[in-house]
Symmetry: C2
Subunit: 342 residues, 2 copies
Amino acid sequence: MRQTTLRDVAELAGVSPRTVSNVVNGYARVTDATREKVERAIAQLGYRPNVLARNLATGRSGQIVVVVPYLDTPYFAELLQGIIPAARKLGYNVLVDQTDGDRDHEGELIGRGSRRFLFDGMIFSPLGLSQEDLSVRDPDLPLVVLGERSSDGTFDHVGIDDVAASTDAVSHLFSIGRRRIAAIGDQPYPTGEAAQLRTQGYRAAHALFGRPVDESLIISTARFNRADGATAMAALLDRADPPDAVFCYSDLVASGAIHAIHQRGLRVPEDVAIIGYDDIEDGRYSSPTISTIQPDKKAIAQMAVDRLVKRIASPSPVPGVELRAEHRLIARESTLGVATSS
Amino acid sequence: MRQTTLRDVAELAGVSPRTVSNVVNGYARVTDATREKVERAIAQLGYRPNVLARNLATGRSGQIVVVVPYLDTPYFAELLQGIIPAARKLGYNVLVDQTDGDRDHEGELIGRGSRRFLFDGMIFSPLGLSQEDLSVRDPDLPLVVLGERSSDGTFDHVGIDDVAASTDAVSHLFSIGRRRIAAIGDQPYPTGEAAQLRTQGYRAAHALFGRPVDESLIISTARFNRADGATAMAALLDRADPPDAVFCYSDLVASGAIHAIHQRGLRVPEDVAIIGYDDIEDGRYSSPTISTIQPDKKAIAQMAVDRLVKRIASPSPVPGVELRAEHRLIARESTLGVATSS
DNA sequence: ATAGTCCTTTGCAGCGCTGCAAAGCGCAAT
DNA sequence: ATTGCGCTTTGCAGCGCTGCAAAGGACTAT
């Protein structure tokens, strides 16, 4: 039992296969009479076009892949929820891949692998790959990079102004009267650009308020997750001079930090104020609700998809651009306390 | 500038294209000498196989699609994190799609659409589609269903024993001395099977402990999310006779409920004990940590992929089976209080 | 009546690969 | 030396569709 093909439909409708193709794709001008004949035949045979064959003939797959380090990180999950509908609206399916932040895996994906043919373009959130690594890649792959790397001119980059956002976050802590402010999430090594930009903002805010930076309050973590946040916070609380506020480099870190604080029987924000980063849904419901930096995720998703599709469509290389989405400071209970809660 | 093809490699290596194909795929027996020649040629030309062409020739795409209602629901994100590596290990790429629980969209996906050719099989977590709707589908599509529907014999179903798990959850609340136990998340309509099984467990536990069911304590919600959990809980607290414990049909609902309780200045579990369902990471870090039912997600992911791949590989229809993963009750602070915290 | 124009439909060739089965080849057994 | 066997390599045809450009047809203007 063979599958029904264009040819079968053509025969039944009494037209050429090419005409059936034109009807199916809404191509060219087809008279209503012909279209109707063809459509009737399609319905009668239960024909459906073979996308695989179309892909081969056109050389395009109609798929884009979104590569993130961790799918179970709410930030990425929320971002994906913006990307998928945006891409589908433009006729693309979305493939999702996660790399676990593994450098080799990430390198493979942007390299000249044979999977290349499976997608027309890639939206990529690197973690294990450094800025330099990003340049060693398949030059034919339309690429949009998310996060904190910057473009080398051959791909687009979409993100928010991390330094400014981090400065805002720490300034907020100063402005509610805190003086010993820690930072959790620094990554002082080549692939830690994201973290380093936030640390830069942390320093900038200190400068702004004329406060010296206590280097010992900048805590490094391997990842931006809850477990690392909790561990780092516990270490801070063990000190003789614990901080009275903490800037966490993600809401997950903040969530872990709050957990650690509660385990000591201390209170947020009375004993330690906490501000996070990303504005994941979690933070809007946790106890206390988490103050945070809210990147405009919908805008990021839309920009990334738009740029990528533009890049795919263009026959000549498109110069890479830097796109910045907006961000806002959202003050909640973890800095303002319950009374002033929004 | 054409892409390099098998033919080019064959020419350079001085063998037939078919032999190159054999080398590339590790097919058949090829002598070391030939293999080496071919591999050298491949390296020299930077050849990579065109997956699109292979797909057309073999009629398979090497992709499976995972369809979930919401990607930003941690439960699904965590599940996906199990599915993706399991599938990749078996040579399949994973496509992800989200339906927003929309009945039409879900129906289209399991129907005879042309996207069918893009994937060899589907792992599907239905929400908008009722049990009956599931039978109106492309019979050729290898399908594994997740969650709470049951198999009609043409597809596999992987889940946990929801009734037993729910009974466990509510029994736990009884066993810590609670007497007025509410349930949040019922969905008394055709597509609410998932919810209804949990309600069944809720009733079973009451029977087990010889307590009558107060129907007014069973609260329906449209979704299993934080917002609905908070709203429902707020309504319960507004009553003259609020419950002293709540069984929430997901951890997200529990998170929302706790949020509502805290907003009233009440405490968990002193005033109201809360138990959730799913064991998402969130619940392990929230304040208080959330008692829950822990389904064995890794097992579910693995079973689903294994069955699907078996189904794809089999030339004849495979009878559908019901697979049950284990579940465990995890008691945390939201029922036990801080002192006894694990 | 004839030529020119525009719109619809068609035919061809090929995208790059693999399934199938037969051809080729080297070696062992007789 | 001849036959037979088993492993390696090959050739053919075609997966189902679309790009391209030309053929066909209807209609208008002269």
